[in-house]
């Protein structure tokens, strides 16, 4: 019984982690059709931002929840201005340019911080379920992931900003004709996506630690989740994270973490063979 509870929490945690690492990417990809291969490095930079801020005496919660998203959000806006903007509509070139950006960030961070693991302790401690101990912080991550999804839904559904974003996503030319400036919407979207990615990086830093090449560990999972999710940003990410998080954690429990990851990938390839446009290409159509 205790084991079942622990396993269920592990699965929830796996799902929440997937949501956290892929929601920023989903926004950028869903709104702008831009594949940002520097996504993993945005996560990595968010992690470093949190750790550096904490080591300089900033409260750990402020470091993770405020400093990380702001730092990475600003970097995102700069990257959008300098690189992405030049390449709109050229999907493959954007893919390559952001990969160049990713190498650049890895090199830069290695030069500054060295190729070693940095980390901070996870706050909050834990509680016991029978013979097992559960980290309260991991449980909190589940809550945060849910809050992010709900907040995004509310913003996109109910605010004027969300309306503009959805309109531009649907038909940029029509939006421009009605007086909205698509480049400005894109810049804001990219900034928000990057900020959410930075937030995720900051939140995950106490759990996994960061090193310059940590992005590679996240980026594949994030992309698989977003692509398998399909066109609907929130419903797609949530449903794909639900599916793959469960597969990953169950396989990890039964075998090893690496098999769990391989299983995640295999599940994604099989899924895309059946549903080439992702889950929301067929189910939940028209959702956000």
């Amino acid at each position: 019984m205790d084991l079942a509870v622990v396993l269920a929490l592990e699965i929830l945690n796996g799902i929440a982690t997937l949501v956290l690492i892929s929601v920023g990417l989903a926004i950028i990809f869903g709104m702008m059709r831009v594949i940002n291969l520097a996504h993993g490095e945005f996560l990595m930079l968010g992690g470093y931002a949190a750790i550096v801020a904490t080591n300089h005496g900033v409260n750990i919660w402020i470091a993770m929840l405020v400093v990380s998203p702001i730092v990475v959000g600003i970097l995102g806006v700069v990257a959008e201005r300098l690189i992405i903007r030049v390449l709109y509509g050229r999907m493959i070139d954007t893919l390559l340019a952001t990969w160049g950006l990713s190498l650049f960030f890895i090199g830069l961070v290695t030069t500054i911080f060295g190729n070693t693991v940095a980390g901070i302790g996870a706050p909050l401690g834990g509680f016991a379920v029978g013979r097992y101990s559960i980290s309260l912080y991991r449980l909190l991550l589940v809550g945060i992931a849910a809050v992010i999804l709900l907040a995004l839904y509310a913003v996109l559904r109910t605010t004027r900003l969300g309306l503009l974003a959805r309109g531009t996503m649907e038909n940029p030319n029509m939006a421009a004709a009605l007086g909205v400036s698509p480049p400005r919407v894109y810049a804001a979207t990219f900034g928000v996506g990057a900020a959410l990615t930075g937030l995720a990086g900051g939140l995950l830093a106490p759990i996994s630690g960061v090193l310059p090449t940590v992005g590679a560990a996240y980026v594949a999972k994030a992309f698989i989740t977003v692509i398998s999710g399909g066109t609907a940003i929130l419903a797609g990410t949530a449903s794909a994270a639900l599916l793959f998080g469960t597969v990953n954690q169950l396989l990890t429990y039964l075998t090893t973490p690496v098999i769990g990851e391989a299983g995640l990938l295999a599940a994604a390839i099989l899924l895309l063979r059946v549903l080439p446009h992702g889950i929301t290409g067929k189910l939940f159509r028209g959702s956000l």
Binding site: I35, L37, I83, V86, L87, M91, I92, D93, L95, L96, A97, W99, G100, L101, S102, L103, F104, F105, I106, G107, L108, T110, T111, T213, A216, A217, V219, A220, K221, F223, I224, I227, T256, P257, V258, E261, A262, L265, A268, I269, L270, L272, R273, V274, P276
Partner: protein, 341 residues
């Protein structure tokens, strides 16, 4: 028959390769010869992506998956058999079979470019993680221990087929690798000049039109992708032989980004481009590796960005375009003078 389609440029490149193969061992020392050997092996890897991406239009971010699979196949087989002929053969077959399997799911699922890129990238990262986690005695294939992130050292190197005791010396290995490079280069040109090759290029240009003309787009993509996997696997076995060593790094992001950089820098849609890009960037990487001023990743990232933003077509096509512009500019005044007269 096929020779009719071969352009003078191909003959020139082939002649240069033969000259290097024959001349280099006479003038350079052993260390430089070893360097040239690994450059030539990597050129084969560059060609594999050059054909899959440049001609097949398939952006494969996971060419290093096939490269690494080839290297590991060679290592495991050579350790078990103690003779390299079968190992080299298998290093072509295993990646090809894997490429065919992966390609089946991707092309018959009709995934678009970007999705292909992401899936192939994920595959290579998973391989990286998988091989990294194979430390310990439990992970052995026959007599070969995989050794996780430490890699497999002291692999048997190439021997004369049939006589395991007679190993190839560095000069002979260099001849072999150059010969293989020449065969792959000329062979790919011959393939591209054939009916199959022309359909592959046509698919790159316009998939729908090809389909309407009755060609099976999916099958052509799958075949060229599989061929690319086999060639990358061959390069993998050459790499494993070169250092008598293989580690999970063959699957790493660094390896896979290098291959893409070679092709971008050299030029898409040519075969000589990836070769030039590979030699230039390999040379640069070796030079950067010996200094401490700046991180190699940093420099490569900047070069990558610069090429995508400023020279998106790569060196070779840009030079060709420049030459065409210059000769047009030279022709124009002459024509005007004629008209005036």
């Amino acid at each position: 028959m096929i020779l009719r389609h071969v352009s003078p440029g191909v003959l020139v490149t082939a002649a240069v390769m033969v000259t290097v193969a024959v001349g280099a061992p006479l003038i350079v020392d052993q260390f430089q010869l070893l360097q040239l050997t690994v450059f030539a092996g990597m050129c084969i890897l560059a060609l594999s992506l050059g054909v899959v991406w440049g001609y097949g239009g398939i952006l494969c971010f996971g060419q290093s998956a096939f490269f690494g699979l080839g290297a590991y196949t060679y290592a495991v087989t050579a350790v078990n058999v103690g003779e390299s002929t079968l190992a080299i053969a298998l290093s072509l077959v295993v990646p090809a079979v894997f490429a065919a399997l992966l390609g089946y799911f991707m092309f018959y699922g009709r995934l678009s470019d970007v999705y292909l890129g992401v899936i192939t990238l994920s595959v290579t990262l998973i391989f990286f993680n998988l091989t990294n986690s194979t430390a310990g005695d439990a992970y052995r294939i026959g007599r070969a221990r995989l050794n996780g992130f430490n890699g497999m050292p002291s692999l048997p190197t190439f021997n004369v087929p049939g006589t395991p005791g007679r190993l190839l010396d560095p000069t002979e290995t260099f001849y072999l690798v150059m010969a293989l490079l020449l065969i792959v280069y000329v062979g790919l040109h011959a393939l591209l000049a054939s009916h199959f090759g022309r359909v592959v290029v046509a698919v790159r240009e316009n998939e729908t039109r090809c389909e309407l003309l009755g060609y099976d787009v999916r099958r052509h993509k799958l075949l060229i992708f599989t061929l690319g996997g086999a060639i990358a696997g061959l390069a993998g076995s050459l790499f494993a032989n070169w250092g008598a060593f293989v580690s999970p790094n063959v699957f790493s992001l660094t390896t896979t980004s290098q291959i893409i950089i070679w092709v971008i820098v050299g030029g898409l849609g040519t075969l000589v481009g990836p070769i030039i890009g590979c030699v230039v960037m390999q040379y640069l990487a070796t030079e950067l590796g010996t200094q401490q001023l700046a991180n190699t990743s940093l420099i490569f990232g900047i070069i990558f960005l610069a090429f995508v933003l400023l020279v998106p077509r790569g060196i070779v096509p840009s030079l060709a375009a420049l030459r065409a512009r210059l000769s047009a500019a030279r022709a124009r005044p002459a024509a005007q003078a004629r008209r005036a007269a």
